[in-house]
C-alpha cells in the first residue's frame, strides 16, 4: 500500500487550442500513477476523448520541451502541444 501510494504523482496539466476546447478548461491538477508524459496523454485521451493522436503532439514539462517518453515526477507541470500555427 505504501509503495502504491508513492507511485501516485500530483501533476498539473495545461491545455491550449483544440485540447483546451475539448477538455473544456485551460488547466487542471490531477493524480496519476502513469510513468511518462506519453502515458499520461493516453490516459487523458481515454477519459476526455481528445481527437488528436499522441503522434501529432509534442510535450513540455515545466516549460521545457521534452521527449514523449520523458518520466513524470510529482509537481511537474505538463503541456501537450498540438501542431503549432503561428506566423
Amino acid at each position: 500500500m505504501a509503495k502504491a501510494a508513492e507511485m501516485i504523482k500530483s501533476i498539473q496539466v495545461l491545455y491550449f487550442a483544440i485540447l483546451r476546447e475539448q477538455r473544456g478548461l485551460s488547466r487542471e491538477s490531477l493524480a496519476t500513477a502513469v510513468g511518462t508524459v506519453g502515458e499520461l496523454y493516453d490516459e487523458l485521451r481515454g477519459k476526455h476523448g481528445f481527437t488528436l493522436g499522441g503522434e501529432h503532439l509534442r510535450a513540455a514539462i515545466n516549460d521545457e520541451f521534452m521527449p514523449w517518453n520523458a518520466p513524470l515526477k510529482s509537481g511537474d507541470v505538463v503541456t501537450f502541444i498540438p501542431p503549432v500555427a503561428g506566423g
Binding site: 491550449f16 483544440i18 501529432h56 502541444i81 498540438p82 503549432v84 500555427a85 503561428g86 506566423g87
Partner: protein
C-alpha cells in the same frame, strides 16, 4: 527579443528600435491576416499562445539566427488574441551589414517560428464555422 503582444503591433516603433549605423541592410517580414485560406473566406483569426514557452522558444530561435548569420540585430513580435482582416500577426525585423545575412536570417526566423513556437491559430469563416489550423481540422 521575442515577444507576444495582446495589442496591435507597431512596426514603425519596432523598426526604429533596430536603427544602428553599423547596419547597411534591414529586412522585415510581416504576416497579415488574409481574407481567404484554402478556398474559404476568412472573417477573423484568433491566436492563442503558451506564453512562457513561446517566449523561451522564440528567444532560442533568435539566438540560433545570431549564431548562424552575421547580424547587427533581430527581433520578433507575435500578436495574440482576436485579429481582423489585414491585421498583422507577426513582425520580424533583421539588420545586418550586408543583405545576404539579413534575408537569410529573416527567412530562418519566420520558418522556425512557424514550426516551433507554441502558438495556435483558429480561423473564423464567413459562413460562421471555425477551425484550428494544422490542429486536426475539424469544424466547431
Amino acid at each position: 527579443m521575442f515577444k507576444l503582444s495582446h495589442e496591435p503591433l507597431d512596426p514603425t516603433a519596432l523598426k526604429a528600435a533596430l536603427a544602428n549605423p553599423q547596419a547597411g541592410a534591414c529586412v522585415t517580414f510581416e504576416g497579415w491576416v488574409r481574407n481567404h485560406n484554402e478556398g474559404q473566406a476568412v472573417r477573423a483569426l484568433e491566436y492563442e499562445a503558451h506564453g512562457s514557452l513561446a517566449e523561451k522558444e522564440g528567444a532560442k530561435i533568435l539566438e540560433e539566427a545570431r549564431q548562424r548569420f552575421s547580424l547587427v540585430a533581430a527581433s520578433c513580435v507575435h500578436r495574440v488574441g482576436t485579429l481582423a482582416l489585414g491585421d498583422m500577426a507577426i513582425w520580424i525585423g533583421v539588420t545586418a551589414e550586408h543583405r545576404d545575412a539579413a534575408f537569410a536570417a529573416c527567412r530562418y526566423l519566420i520558418d522556425e517560428a512557424k514550426a516551433r513556437v507554441p502558438i495556435w491559430k483558429k480561423e473564423h469563416y464567413a459562413g460562421g464555422s471555425s477551425a484550428w489550423i494544422n490542429c486536426a481540422r475539424r469544424e466547431v
